[in-house]
Symmetry: C2
Subunit: 397 residues, 2 copies
């Protein structure tokens, strides 16, 4: 039985009616919202229709279980507060289509709160053991609601946690959420690894002063220290980074932040991402050395906040090879291996089993926005690559 493109696209469009924003194809379907729960109830019905057994776990992750050991596929169906129709939803509906059209046991999952109303990829973090449930329950959203209270709104649906040993691997299809495929005119990205992240807050503290009476040579201006640090870092990173490495100073808070006062303090975020843990460590060393030198030269006190780290996750070679073979069959020489610069549920699931990921292009690289979209041809191409990969895994099993 072949995958049914029409049915796949119809279900994908049906899903976006839950929480439709009325602006383009956008959706407003944050975790545990009425729209999110309604969408999960509908998904559970579609799983039943496909011969799968729907099962909500205690945090609202929805599984559609095949009988016996199976390959797990899926993503998430919650959205950003102002989200696109494909982020997460694509992976769930594609998994459903593969499960219902094939003759090899495939289970489907829609994880809860991937978009981080409460944390980061909360539902899969709890399921994978990365985040204890008691700790998760204390997480608070922007409006002061706890995760514990939010998940209790689905208590009537929930059963036990699913034993991960039921599954021998996990494949997640997702939109790229970046511009690489769209810019290159390519149809498919096979993920090589999900990059690791390092993130910390750095503070330069100099001397707040009158911007009229303090001569330049006597200033200890924290913004000037930050600017110098940034320039040197960009230069020194050139010897270490690859075209896939990224780094960002996204947040800057000056004190007192007034036009007539030499800034006494600059507190800023320093984030860097790469697929190679050693490279992340070398970058950290450069950051700390450079900040130290600038602090000494400019008469600054230097302070680091705690470093948040997520290790890079390599995709499983067997699953990845199946996806690459599928990509070459469906879109010959029109695909690429590539890292994922964004986090995904697969990062958590990799604690439990082999994982792999497939990307389709995002038009203009836009995501986390009502304007997020992908050409329907590309959605179908992604589905066909998944189908090809699952068939080749079956035949080699």
């Amino acid at each position: 039985m072949a995958v049914n493109h029409t049915r796949f696209l119809a279900d994908l469009h049906k899903l976006r009616t839950f929480g439709a924003s009325g602006i383009g194809k956008g959706v407003v379907r944050p975790a545990y919202s009425e729209a999110d729960i309604a969408a999960r109830r509908w998904l559970a019905g579609r799983m039943s229709d496909a011969g799968l057994t729907p099962h909500f776990d205690p945090v609202g992750n929805l599984f559609g279980l095949a009988e016996g050991p199976s390959l797990l596929m899926g993503s998430h169906s919650d959205s950003q507060p102002e989200g696109g129709w494909l982020d997460g939803a694509l992976g769930v509906i594609a998994a459903l289509e593969i499960a219902r059209s094939g003759d090899w046991p495939v289970s489907v999952v829609s994880f809860q709160d991937e978009e981080g109303r409460f944390g980061v990829t909360t539902g899969s973090a709890v399921w994978s053991g990365g985040l204890p449930l008691e700790k998760a329950d204390d997480l608070i959203d922007g409006a002061g609601v706890s995760f514990g209270a939010a998940r209790s709104s689905m208590a009537d649906l929930s059963q036990d946690f699913i034993d991960p040993a039921c599954f021998h691997g996990f494949i997640e299809m997702h939109i790229e959420q970046g511009p690489a495929l769209d810019v290159a005119g390519e149809r498919i990205g096979v993920v090589t690894d999900i990059v690791g992240i390092r993130d910390m807050v750095v503070t330069f503290e100099g001397q707040q002063n009158h911007a009229g009476t303090t001569p330049m040579h006597l200033r200890r201006d924290a913004f000037q220290a930050l600017s110098l640090f940034n320039a040197r870092l960009n230069e020194r990173f050139q010897n270490v980074v690859t075209p896939q490495t990224v780094w960002t100073i996204g947040r800057v808070d000056l004190h007192p932040n007034a036009s007539s006062i030499v800034p006494g303090r600059a507190r800023f975020s320093m984030q860097w991402r790469d697929g190679d843990g050693d490279r992340l460590a070398r970058m950290e060393e450069i950051i700390r050395t450079t900040a130290q030198q600038v602090a000494e030269e400019q008469g600054m006190m230097l302070e680091y906040g705690p470093m948040l780290g997520l290790e890079p996750v390599s995709m499983d070679m067997t699953l990845r090879n199946a996806l690459e073979t599928g990509a070459q069959a469906v879109a010959p020489d029109n695909w690429r291996p590539m890292p994922s610069g964004a986090l995904h549920d697969a990062t958590n699931v990799s604690r439990l089993m082999p994982v792999a990921m497939l990307f389709v292009p995002s038009i203009n690289g836009i995501s986390h926005d009502f304007a997020e979209d992908t050409a329907e041809d590309d959605l179908v191409t992604g589905l066909r690559v998944l189908d090809h990969a699952v068939r080749s895994l079956r035949s080699s099993a």
Copy 2:
């Protein structure tokens, strides 16, 4: 009759009891506060005692008028919300001491709201015609109170505006509020000019993006544009500036200011000060050219807010010469001519008559802080220079 150092210091210390902060010698005496009005009432009494006629104008500027044409001297007695005991107060009490100890007609003034609860040097700005009273009345302080409402709290005291033609010149003694004299170990600064200020808000607008999925070469990161602009500016200014020139990026607002998002917008303050109007204009040209180049290179939209400008004010040569002669007599080779990097009431008064200013050192350059202080020896040295200058002006009159 000679100046009386003891009486001068006693009155200066008495004045700081109005709004004493209880922390060091600090004062809390913002314009129109109870403490400010009480201090002005006390000052009016001291003026009467000195044989001057106290006169409050409609905005609360307090004059102590000598009979007939006179030299005007003074400063302001309002303070910053957390201010020092000398900022303004020194100039008022020194003027009072000169007026009551000399035999040449000297009038005294304490301007209102120099510290800008409502604007910038509000009281002298209104008196000098730089700010129409109707406009001033609409100014709102940080708590939402209008200047009109605030000045009405002194309505029982107020009379007409004083005709500036009563005065043939204005001399203001003030603490330096910067470190130059203290660092050099000098006792007196004779002001050459009050620097001009240019101030504007500049905005680079690039493209907000995901900090994980957006490769470095495709980013249009507004913070990076700001950092590059700053570095180039520092370099290019070297060909134009003097050791007295200052420039400051004191306020930076990134949008959306989040660690995982490439900043799409950087809005920042650009302020520069110099005593030479031509240099201010050359600096503006460099700023605009550099911002334009950076915007083009980095794919930014560039936007300027309105440019606020205050022209440099040169001190009157006759008055300045009298102060320099006095400085050399009282503190031989231990004084310097210097620009004022801060604004003062003298900037406004220069619209009406010749002005000059005298500085004494600020310990560690600290001002606008409870810790502001000056050695009492230096306060007396300043008083003696003023006295010498006024006597020489009298004899050459």
